[in-house]
Symmetry: C2
Subunit: 354 residues, 2 copies
């Protein structure tokens, strides 16, 4: 499909100044990709200046949260700009869309979108290790109609933000025993807005207690670990790498399954299974669990220093631990092009000068 | 607080033509109420022409579903226009807002909003019994920032739509045993977008089977009745009126608690308790359960004709049943001003001619 490039894009890009302090997801790139879908038919994509969307006050996205999104990054490599497994994001977004009765964005259109934004924003990809251009594809239901039903019209966007890693320091988790981020038979395994809205209250509560992130438990048993609000969970127990097995309420992180492959390839034993929270806390206390970390596109690998619970606060002995450091470096070495890409994970992007 | 009336409002209203066929929530009134909140401070409200909202592509509402809403109606009574217990909607919206870490809309601002829209749209309130001007107050997080955190800025709107009742015919329910609309410790008792997005797939599935609405089960036990996607559930069993007790995953309908009072006042026995789905289906089959209906602002009281389940399809013997008909009439008589308002439920609105 041919992509329309708005002539105003060049001006927007030339006038752009990189922010002094990057932060995460706050400074937006001055261009965005857009395509619309009416009654199941997709338009061609277009690259246009970043500008406010015109949304009908009765649009489904505003009332019934009919929206899903992805999070991915364009990395500066030795040779240029590259994306990490973008077809996996396309696939997951199609899954999320279907969960909310939205038309999946065709893979080719999705890839056009992220590639075009990365290509034109090549100069906005920061160069320090751990920094990148964060890309945010999203799909919203735009039909103006207040009945609880799927929209007949949709808009797909890719916006971008030059960013640091989401969590740079060590993270303090709090075991969330009251609230749930997703229901059994709910939307936990899809990347949809409602999962995140529901988690804000928990995050607010634990910040007051001096913690950074909720550790969500499985909604079926309320006693095993699922994940964090925007990252998957790993622990090193007796030298092996453990992570919760997919169960319908966990979002299947692309970093998660890539790390599983990478770790096995590096000789680690990896166990996908059930992690009972009380057992885990006992293992932290006894020193059997030496380290824990969270992973995700935004956070890369962030070491966990403490897990707090009503019964007390459990300190990990190794922060950051050797396994987390080893894996983080190995992953970033691939993403930032310092080693050969044996897994064939990177898609290089031909950049466009404006 | 003083309300600013945009001079363009008069022109918008004078040029408005009522749609030939009303439907529900599809034809929007040409004006809307707006107020904004920045860092916890609310602006004055304003009445402006209905127009697309300008929403930043990175706004929290689009990505993390930080939005909540209300549904209420302005009724044409003998004497003019009136609202039904609007302070209850204000209260529930404040509850929903807090669940998603949003600043509650102050009650006075909320009431200003719905009253002003009703006052200026008096000519748009249709006059047949069961018809009304549906009012949709909603609150959205507008800050442009991709971190999973509460917005620092919000917009509150009241839009309106001249409407028929949401479901006019008899409803065919399907027992939803796979999906859940809300989690234990989730957002089921708040009126927030994510609950509705997650229910679309179930609704789509059952429509293919010839049913109208999902009957949601309680997420904790997966075996007792909670409610419908936008209505509460009642059944007449052994002559008494039964409805599920509030349990944290049911939205507390204003129609629901008003009907409980009204029914008791009319001499019915009302039981709020647990309704086991298998027991209920047995009671329908044996004829002990003679009728069932759903209630809500949009649907008023809608009789249920059939409850379908994997094991078969259970027909209610009385459709519409005498209790549903009696209560529907008694409620509408109050709302449409045909009887004295002993409960003091109605708030009359001083209309404005433009
Ligand atoms: C709930 C949740 N879990 C896990 C992840 C990690 O997924 P990925 O590694 O694909 O970024 C994310 C973020 O994307 C998330 O939002
Ligand atoms: C999930 C849900 N349950 C019940 C109701 C009924 O509530 P009310 O009677 O206040 O309209 C609604 C609609 O408002 C709803 O969305």
């Amino acid at each position: 499909m041919s992509i329309y490039i708005d002539p105003a894009v060049a001006l927007s890009l030339r006038g752009y100044e990189m922010p002094e302090r990057l932060g995460f997801g706050t400074a937006m790139a001055p261009v965005m990709f857009r395509a619309v879908c009416q009654d199941g038919c997709w338009s061609n994509g277009e690259l246009i200046p970043y500008e406010p969307l015109s949304v009908d006050p009765a649009a489904k996205v505003l009332h019934y949260a009919q929206s899903c999104f992805e999070g991915m990054k364009a990395y500066r490599t030795g040779e240029g700009i590259a994306l990490f497994r973008p077809e996996k994001n396309a696939e997951r977004m199609a899954y999320s869309a279907k969960r909310l009765c939205m038309p999946p964005v065709p893979e080719s259109l999705f890839l056009d979108g992220v590639r075009t934004v990365a290509a034109y924003c090549a100069n906005l990809v920061p160069g320090n290790s751990g920094e990148s251009l964060y890309l945010r594809p999203f799909l919203i239901g735009t039909q103006a109609d207040l009945t609880v039903s799927a929209s007949t019209s949709y808009e797909f966007y890719v916006i971008a933000s030059p960013s640091e890693a989401y969590h740079s320091g060590n993270m303090r988790l709090w075991v969330e025993r009251e609230d749930a981020r997703a229901a059994v038979g709910g939307t936990g395994d899809a990347k949809v807005g409602g999962n995140y809205a529901g988690s804000l209250l928990s995050i607010g509560r634990l910040k007051e207690r001096g913690y950074d992130q909720s550790l969500w438990l499985n909604p079926a048993d309320r006693s095993s670990v699922d994940e964090l609000s925007g990252m998957n969970f790993f622990a090193v127990i007796d030298g092996a790498l453990h992570t919760p097995a997919l169960n319908g309420s966990i979002l299947e992180g692309i970093t998660r399954f890539s790390l599983i492959d990478l770790a096995r390839n590096l000789g680690y034993k990896v166990v996908e299974g059930t992690i009972h929270i009380d057992e885990l806390l006992g293992q932290v206390a006894s020193g059997t669990c030496t380290e824990a970390f969270a992973c995700g596109t935004a956070a890369i690998i962030s070491p966990i220093s403490v897990i707090g619970d009503d019964g007390g606060s459990y300190k990990l002995s190794q922060v950051p631990g050797p396994v987390a450091q080893h894996l983080r470096q190995a992953l970033l070495d691939i993403q930032e092009g310092r080693v050969e890409d044996h897994f064939n994970w990177m898609l290089s992007v031909e950049t466009v000068e404006v």
